[in-house]
């Protein structure tokens, strides 16, 4: 077992982890943060996307030990009380989710995308989200949500 200390959603967190424990399972099973979902085993689907030091990362392809000393943000860390994060709000308003399983990953990938490119074109949005898969929405309203979030200044 290895000791790690990291910040998760703004709170300091100390834990003992088996080296083989992936960050996604650490967040879900040890911290009880069930919003980060596991959808595949080949780093393809992005449902597990979180932010590590502000950048989108697939938490299924990072060991918890690698996140020692890092700042991790999951979907649970986005809303301020009752107020949704602008990206979450945009996804809601644009009906960019149906079953919702892929949504936390898309929201975090979007936050990272808009941070790097606050006013992306449609092509840049579609390319920027190539690491996240959805079977329900056909991506159409997800693209609209990202555009709405960008207009609302979510990347600023």
């Amino acid at each position: 077992m290895t000791q790690i200390v990291l910040t998760v959603n703004g709170s300091r967190c100390e834990a003992d982890v088996e080296p083989r424990q992936l960050l996604a399972y650490f967040l879900r099973d040890q911290l009880g943060l069930k919003g980060t979902n596991v959808g595949c085993d080949t780093t393809s689907c992005g449902a597990c996307t979180v932010l590590v030091d502000g950048e989108s990362v697939k938490s299924c392809t990072v060991f918890a030990v690698q996140a020692d000393g890092c700042e991790v943000t999951t979907v649970e860390g986005l809303a301020q009380g009752e107020e949704l994060h602008p990206v979450q709000q945009a996804f809601h308003e644009q009906h960019a989710l149906q079953c919702g399983y892929c949504t936390p990953g898309f929201v975090l990938a979007t936050i990272s995308l808009l941070k790097e490119n606050p006013n992306p074109s449609e092509v840049e949005i579609r390319d920027g989200l190539e690491g996240n898969l959805c079977r329900c929405t056909g991506y159409h309203n997800i693209v609209k949500a990202v555009q709405a979030a960008a207009r609302a200044g979510a990347g600023a």
Binding site: E18, R20, Y25, R28, K34, N37, G39, C40, D41, T42, S44, C45, A47, H95, Q98, C99, G100, Y101, C102, E122, I125, R126, D127, L129, E130, G131, N132, L133, C134, R135, C136, T137, G138, Y139, H140, N141, I142, V143
Partner: protein, 732 residues
């Protein structure tokens, strides 16, 4: 189910066959059971019979699937043993250590080969043919009066449903001996009945809860894994939990499509279709489940939107050593549409006629409904020509043909293709009944309890809207409950695009009933006649007709009724049964084809989808968007492939080409509403329409792009290598 607390739950890991067809000579679990708290169970530890096949007429009952493989495995992924452990990691470690001694048997992967009955999956049954559809009788003169006859083949390739949430199940036996099962399913109530039947339990002893389910697309109905999880909870006396990995799901969750469709279509030189013959060879996979029955739906919908006087359909469903085939978004109807639309385009090409014009000459006219087709479907309402015209206008058809002409004259490397697909599909296809209950809550709101089971379809909003509108309540005051068989008295679940039209209708009727009951209660309180009480929906108030000042709001009525212990009077339940409805539409795809590499890019897809009355257009459109993506995925990307030994070659999201947002354009969805007379809402289903309409449009577009090169057909997925091969063959 990983989100459920479940104190003390054990983890279930399945040991699955690595071979497609083999006898099991022995299973050695010694090394596995040496790991802490690990237990391994096999068929020797259970005495339950095979599971299924489902009781569809005509499906060979001898081809059911053992819950655990007894002496033989029939596909890569067939379950051989169960590992019980304290946690997931130990379960994976132990499963690897279970040693299986296989006696390999020859594997048969192609349905064509399998139909020869040389390698039998069930030797005691004596054949691999699981079911037949239509009739083997052929009229030799079927095309006798046709001036022009064309034929061809469409292979509707095997697809994996890929819901983003893989399956998960948990079960626990309570102190009272009742078992509660949490399932990632589409059909909680049906699952309860089948679980009870399979395990020999009184249904009252079984509770099924469907929590939030991350997509289903037809594939998530009770399968052997869920039965085993419930059986284990009872056998071990401890709660148990199972979640499949994606690689596991890719072989263990049933697949879709996998049908070979051969057509012959004949008609007159002026474009009138006179006769159509369709032969279907359906791959069932290793066991006969719903897939065996699908050719019946394909055959039923063979006529498509056309008034074809004579139709012959023959279907065979054949086992192979592959993952079993079940329902997947469209379930038999995409196949019908894929083949008739290619047949019509092939006919148009032979005649040298515009494919839009040939379609116009053959549509079932708008005033001909209800209409019974020569393949025995009774269409309720439709305006096929209207849908096509709307689509052609929306896409700018003439301008696109001009652009195509120019690119052809220039002999440009990248050519343009325009493809049309006119479709009709059947929803609520087996005449089902759905349950709806409405009750008023103490605070003057309402609860809708539905037997439908949304797993992304938004019934929580749509059914709330239906009830809210009828009761004059704000949407926020109506909540929809679903998925718990202890709370919802009955239900059939959600599949076949039936939920709004029967579940929403039932909820609407129950709401109407509650309104009538409320009028009676208000009449009582106001000492008036119920016939004189009316609802002011905007104000949410029931009052004496003509005198709004004498009335009670829902909130006050609920409060007063609660105090008088009469709130239970404001509750009603309904079951609504109706026949199938037939949504329809027209899709037009515009593709760019790189004639050197074969690479296809979908530039545009215009979709006119008419599903009758739309309760919530935003949600309906979302269903269309997702459906289109799956339809396009079949046309251009996805293909689940095995090698000749039955080893899956596309068993992960790396190998299986599930497209991302970067691989698709935005859609152009155009609204059209032709209501159905068959339910009070005027609504048809829409969940599968996008899929059924899109694949043929894109397929036809790719072939259209390559017509100047002499290409008459491109295999699906019509992209890359398949395009290149079609071009090569045309040169020969």
């Amino acid at each position: 189910m990983e989100n459920l607390p479940l104190e003390g739950a054990l983890t279930v890991t399945f040991v699955r066959s690595l071979l497609a067809h083999a006898k099991i000579a022995g299973i050695d679990a010694t090394a596995a059971e040496a790991l802490p708290n690990v237990q391994v169970l096999t068929a020797a530890d259970m005495d339950l019979g095979p599971y299924g096949p489902p009781p569809f007429p005509g499906v060979n009952p001898g081809m059911g699937r053992p819950l655990l493989a007894v002496d033989r495995v029939r596909f890569v992924g067939d379950i051989i043993a169960i590992v019980i452990s304290d946690d997931r990691a130990t379960g994976v470690d132990a499963a690897e250590l279970v040693s299986v001694d296989y006696d390999p048997l020859p594997a048969v992967v192609s349905p064509h080969e399998s139909a020869k009955d040389e390698v039998l999956l069930f030797p005691e049954v004596g054949t691999n043919v699981a079911a037949r559809a239509g009739s083997p009788e052929h009229d030799e003169e079927l095309f006798g009066e046709c001036e022009v006859v064309v034929s061809g083949t469409v292979v509707s390739q095997r697809m994996a449903p890929c819901p983003l949430e893989p399956r998960s199940a948990a079960a626990e036996v309570g102190p009272d001996g009742r078992v509660t099962a949490w399932l990632s399913t589409q059909t909680p109530h049906q699952d309860r009945m089948v679980l009870a039947g399979t395990l020999g339990l009184d249904p009252a002893q079984v509770r099924v809860i469907g929590p939030d389910v991350g997509g289903g697309f037809g594939a998530k109905m009770l399968n052997v894994e869920e039965v085993l999880v419930v059986w284990l909870a009872r056998r071990l006396g401890r709660p148990v939990r199972w979640t499949e990995t994606r690689s596991e799901s890719m072989v263990a969750l049933p697949h879709g499509r996998a049908a070979r469709l051969e057509f012959t279509l004949g008609g007159s030189r002026d474009g009138k279709v006179l006769a159509y013959r369709l032969e279907i060879l359906q791959d069932c996979g290793g066991y006969a489940v719903l897939g065996a029955f699908l050719p019946n739906l394909t055959g039923l919908m063979a006529s498509g939107v056309y008034a074809i006087p004579r139709i012959e359909v023959e279907g065979r469903s054949v086992l192979t050593n592959t993952t079993p085939i079940s329902a997947f978004r469209g379930a038999g109807r995409p196949e019908a549409s894929q083949v008739i639309e290619r047949a019509i385009d092939t006919f148009a090409a032979e005649l040298g006629m515009d494919p839009a014009e040939v379609r116009r000459r053959n549509f079932i006219p708008k005033d001909a409904f209800p209409y019974t087709t020569a393949s025995h479907a009774n269409y309720d309402s439709g305006d096929y020509e209207g849908a096509l015209e709307l689509a052609l206008r929306s896409v700018g058809y003439e301008e696109l043909r001009d652009e195509q002409r120019q690119l052809r004259e220039q002999a440009a490397t990248t050519q343009l293709g325009i493809g049309i697909s006119c479709y009709v599909e059947i929803t609520n296809g087996i005449d089902e009944t759905e349950f709806g209950e409405v009750e008023i809550t103490p605070d003057g709101g309402a609860i809708v309890r539905t037997g439908s089971f949304s797993h992304g379809q938004g019934h929580e909003t749509t059914f709330a809207m239906i009830a809210a509108e009828r009761l004059g309540l704000p949407l926020e005051k109506v909540t929809v409950h679903k998925g718990d068989t202890d709370e919802i008295a009955k239900g059939t679940g959600t599949y076949g695009s039936k939920s709004t039209q029967i579940g929403g209708a039932a909820a609407g009727l129950a709401a109407d009933d509650v309104l009538e009951l409320a009028k009676q209660l208000v009449a009582d309180y106001l000492e008036a006649s119920p016939a004189d009480i009316v609802l002011d929906p905007a104000a949410g108030r029931l009052h004496v007709a003509g005198d709004p000042s004498i009335g009670i709001s829902w909130a006050d009525l609920a409060s007063r009724a609660s105090a008088d212990e009469r709130l239970a009077e404001l509750k009603a339940e309904r079951e609504f049964k109706a026949g199938p409805t037939f949504p329809f539409g027209a899709h037009i795809a515009v593709v760019e084809v790189d004639t050197e590499t074969g690479r296809v890019e979908l530039r545009r897809l215009v979709a006119v989808d008419d599903a009758g009355t739309l309760i919530n257009p935003l949600i309906a459109e979302g269903q269309v968007h997702g459906g289109i993506a799956t339809g396009v995925a079949q046309a251009l990307y996805e293909n689940f492939v095995y090698d000749e030994d039955g080893n899956p070659l596309t068993g992960t999201f790396v190998g299986y080409a599930f497209p991302s947002s970067a691989d698709l354009p935005s859609w152009e969805a155009v609204e059209m509403e032709t209501p159905t007379p068959l339910n009070p809402l005027g609504a048809k289903g829409i969940g599968e329409s996008g899929t059924i309409g899109a694949t043929p449009a894109v397929h036809n577009a790719v072939v259209d792009a390559l017509t100047p090169f002499g290409v008459r057909n491109v295999d699906l997925p019509a992209n890359g290598e398949n395009v290149w091969r079609a071009l090569q063959e045309a040169k020969e």
